[in-house]
């Protein structure tokens, strides 16, 4: 019991710290690419704390207040159901009670809860943003889930633990044994992180910050926090599935960071897509690769056998 509590707090702490540091790094890197100095690596932490200590917060009613609470609880739950380490009793959370499909769905629970809050604020721009988000989700989930299904099929389980355990040694990493699946999920993964070029959902100049338009003060702080934690959960999940997991925190950070670097490098150089362009893209390119992958790795072997 005590172990579970401490472990959970540790996971939440780790994901939060990793979250703001990674995002701080992202802003730094972005600045350097644009030939400026950029903010300090702690900037996200400052922003977040500033919002948490705003002295005034506007609410549009109970549902508006509970939305961010739901999304935050969803982020905690997601983090706690993703195993951070393998072969360790620490940073496991409640992951043995869950599985890959559950995690994929948990990733969506919070945002949908928040969508209710956005709706109850009555701001049409917020709802417009939510619709765009859901549309993008519809686009990205298909190839994303197809890639994960390829992994599930490869290991014949939906348990993240089992998939991690099967990848001992560099040669058995998912990215080596099942590279197509990694390619299939990579771009949808970037979209799932709400990163450029798929970040039209909250685009400030297009939909007036989208879903967050009415959130300010401490509620916005909550939203920022959960965003950082959720990103880390997704990163760790992909690390678990394709990069063989990690046996200690340092390795975890290293692997997650390298993956983050890869996605950042991609998202830095592409301009923003419109929602329908993004969806169409997902259904053509990553899904096309996915279909090819299914034909190559599932159909052909069964026919030749």
């Amino acid at each position: 019991m005590m172990h579970a509590v401490v472990d959970s707090l540790a996971m939440i702490g780790v994901s939060y710290v990793m979250g703001f540091l990674f995002y701080g790094f992202y802003r730094q890197l972005n600045a350097r690419i644009q030939r400026r100095w950029g903010p300090s690596i702690w900037q996200n932490f400052f922003d977040n704390m500033k919002f948490f200590f705003k002295s005034e917060t506007l609410s549009h009613g109970p549902m508006f207040f509970f939305g961010p609470m739901i999304i935050m609880a969803g982020a905690f739950t997601t983090v706690l159901f993703v195993p951070f380490l393998k072969d360790s009793t620490w940073l496991q959370g409640f992951s043995q009670y869950g599985n890959l499909i559950l995690i994929i769905y948990l990733l969506v629970v919070g945002p949908l809860g928040n969508a209710l809050a956005v709706g109850s604020s009555g701001n049409p721009f917020g709802v417009m943003g939510v619709t765009r988000g859901l549309t993008r989700l519809m686009g990205l989930e298909v190839p994303f889930f197809l890639g994960l299904a390829l992994v599930m099929l490869q290991h014949e389980t939906s348990s993240v633990h089992a998939i991690m355990a099967a990848q001992d040694g560099l040669a058995n990493w998912g990215i080596v044994t099942n590279p197509v699946a990694f390619v299939v999920i990579l771009l949808p993964f970037i979209a799932a992180q709400n990163a450029s070029p798929f970040d039209v959902v909250g685009a400030p100049v297009e939909v007036y910050a989208g879903p967050r338009v009415e959130f300010g003060g401490r509620l916005l702080g909550v939203l920022m926090t959960q965003n950082m934690m959720m990103s880390i959960a997704k990163l760790v999940l992909v690390v678990d599935l394709f990069l063989g997991g990690a046996s200690n925190v340092l390795v975890l950070i290293a692997k997650a960071f390298s993956l983050f670097l890869l996605t950042t490098a991609i998202s830095m150089v592409f301009p923003r897509l419109k929602t329908e362009q993004a969806v169409d893209f997902f259904w053509k390119v990553p899904l096309g690769i996915g279909v090819l992958a299914v034909i190559l790795t599932v159909w052909l072997p069964s026919w030749s056998a």
């Binding site: 400026r36 922003d47 200590f53 005034e56 506007l58 959130f215």
Partner: protein, 210 residues
């Protein structure tokens, strides 16, 4: 660097309304200092292009002057913003929007008046349609004068604002809250029929506890 130390001209009218800053001692614990430090490190600016000064905001935010290294970045909606930059002259039409945006920002919030127009109407001093003294309508924390001031001056203004935040004490939004009747009377005089509906500000009287 110009700091407002004593009132001149019309500003004296406001100074008479002000309670001396140290009459009410603000509780300053370690946490408050820490919070104040975080606040000044992270200023979200409502990029509201009211006048020609808005053109100076772009170089400020982009690579040449890179305001982000001070933690200053743009915010899309007033709900998320900490600083409202009134970038130049205000017409009566825009004044209403500025007031509305200012009231929608969540405390602590600050206003920077950019350019001479915000101080005394600047080159529009005799226009029938331009607001001459912006701080009759909303409280201005920092003026950056010039026509137009260069981004360096603007950065200086921001840094000055950061320093004031770090020091703590009363800011413009306290003043607005305390003298709301005076501000509203001025606004009503200027806007007349166009005054925003009462629900947008009557919570200032009610103490604003939800």
């Amino acid at each position: 660097m110009y700091h407002k130390t004593q009132c001149e001209g019309f500003q004296c009218e406001q100074a008479m309304l002000e309670v001396p800053g140290d009459a009410e001692t603000v509780r300053e614990g370690v946490l408050d200092k820490l919070i104040a430090w975080m606040r000044q490190r992270s200023l979200f600016v409502l990029a509201y292009g009211t006048g020609c000064g808005a053109i100076e905001m772009r170089p400020l935010m982009t690579s040449r002057f890179d305001a982000e290294r001070f933690g200053i970045i743009g915010a899309a909606t007033p709900r998320q913003a900490d600083v409202l930059v009134i970038s130049g002259y205000l017409a009566l039409k825009t004044l209403r929007r500025v007031i509305r945006s200012y009231e929608q920002m969540q405390e602590p919030k600050y206003v920077i008046g950019l350019g001479s127009c915000t101080i005394n109407g600047g080159m529009y001093w005799d226009s029938y349609n331009t607001v001459k003294q912006v701080d009759r309508y909303i409280p201005i924390d920092i003026y950056v004068n010039g026509c137009m001031p260069r981004p360096e001056a603007l950065i200086e203004g921001f840094v000055a604002l950061q320093q004031r935040i770090k020091q703590g004490g009363k800011a413009g939004y306290h003043q607005y809250r305390e003298n709301i009747d005076w501000y509203k009377a001025n606004q009503r005089k200027a806007l007349g029929e166009e005054m925003p509906p009462a629900y947008t500000y009557d919570w200032y009287h009610a103490g604003g506890v939800a």
